[in-house]
Symmetry: C2
Subunit: 212 residues, 2 copies
DNA sequence: ATGCTAATTAACGCAACAGTTAGTTACTTG
DNA sequence: CAAGTAACTAACTGTTGCGTTAATTAGCAT
């Protein structure tokens, strides 16, 4: 046997910890911090409640770790896009698509962020990790804008932070409020056609805003 | 005495009901449906817990009434804008400003809607009232767009629903995620200058999208 | 092998919380 | 003004849910 030289341990701290985190992510995403049940997390993780307190000390701290991991994940995926390799307009469109696709593929990100804002970001407040990855994120969008300005295809007076917020907003809002939205506007927000239409509208919105 | 012919009653069903609703709005807005405490609502309303169950039957039903009232309020304020009286471009800008100002002045609206979406809109699901007021709302934005197209100042291929969503999104997202936003972007989202800058950016975004 | 450390479990404690019971008191109507 | 009704209150109940206690067992080092 070449791989799997380690025999599968019955007791595996790292694996148990990871299983708890995964189960917690699902539970917090579905019900928010307040609505989540640590008994449910314990059960779904295949561990038991005492393990949660062993590895994470408290429900709130478990939430904090889930949330931080979610931010690290989206920012990592973003960096992996390698937008530098594309012409500014192509890079911008790719970034808008990525943001939309990421929210669709990882709906828990949105719910976790909503829950954290209901709690006024007190869990993220002193996370240095978030600040570090966010700086790189803002810097790379600024780079993209600068490149576009140099090429004469982007307007020169766009604030990268406002642009970031706007690109997130037009996707995020549509998805997080899809339930009340479906009632207010009397249409299914989640059919493939509706999703495609929304993405196209979002690309149009941003392109008109940014391009000269 | 001309007014106040009714002597102030010690027992006043309508007033008590209204006080409970007002206290519930504050509590639900601050903590969401799950995080709200009916003991707190009772205390802050100056009534007591039994009265809540007398007038509203359950915590969930109380939430439903608070939420419906919130929708009625924003849609009424919107209708009162009387956008028909303005030229299309002016009307559009006034509407964008209104949306922003309403969210700022009534932050509980955002939190209530967030909470309802966490619960997949099950409380609004069979509210006929919401559907009725929403239809008028969508119709009047469609009227505005049509007027602009007739005047040759708006693009002809804008979907009123997508526009509605987008105008809400760019204000709503900024405000609801202002806590995590302040950390990620390392700036205070709520200074007068920041608010003004965001509103200007939003107006620019929509104008570029809609105008020919 | 033996003893030590860390992983794991079941069962429990206790506070918080939604909802109720069992009344008392103000107002209204005939 | 008497009797009925509706507003109102305080104290209580059963359950849920976070966090712990106390004990068991697997893996590892000497």
């Amino acid at each position: 046997m070449t791989a799997q030289t380690q025999k599968p341990k019955i007791r595996d701290a790292e694996a148990t910890r990871a299983r708890i985190l995964a189960a917690a992510k699902v539970e917090f995403a579905r019900f928010g911090l307040g609505g989540a049940r640590v008994d449910t997390i314990a059960e779904n993780s295949g561990a038991n409640k005492r393990m949660i307190y062993h590895y994470f000390d408290s429900k709130e701290n478990l939430f904090r770790e889930v949330l931080e991991a979610a931010y690290v994940d989206i920012r990592s995926a973003e960096q992996a896009l390698d937008l530098d390799a594309l012409a500014p307009r192509d890079a911008l469109e790719k970034w808008i698509r990525f943001t939309w696709d990421y929210y669709l593929a990882n709906p828990e990100f949105i719910t976790l962020v909503n829950s954290e804002n209901l709690h006024r970001a007190k869990h993220l407040e002193d996370s240095q990790a978030i600040r570090v990855i966010s700086r790189r994120f803002v810097a790379s969008t600024k780079d993209l804008l600068d490149r576009g300005v140099d090429d004469g295809v982007f307007r020169s007076d766009i604030d990268p932070v406002q642009l970031n917020i706007t690109i997130a907003a037009i996707g995020y809002y549509y998805l997080t409020n899809r339930f009340t939205g479906s009632i207010v506007f009397e249409r299914d927000f989640m059919t493939p056609e509706a999703l495609e239409e929304r993405l196209a509208f979002n690309i149009e919105t941003i392109m008109r805003l940014v391009c000269v």
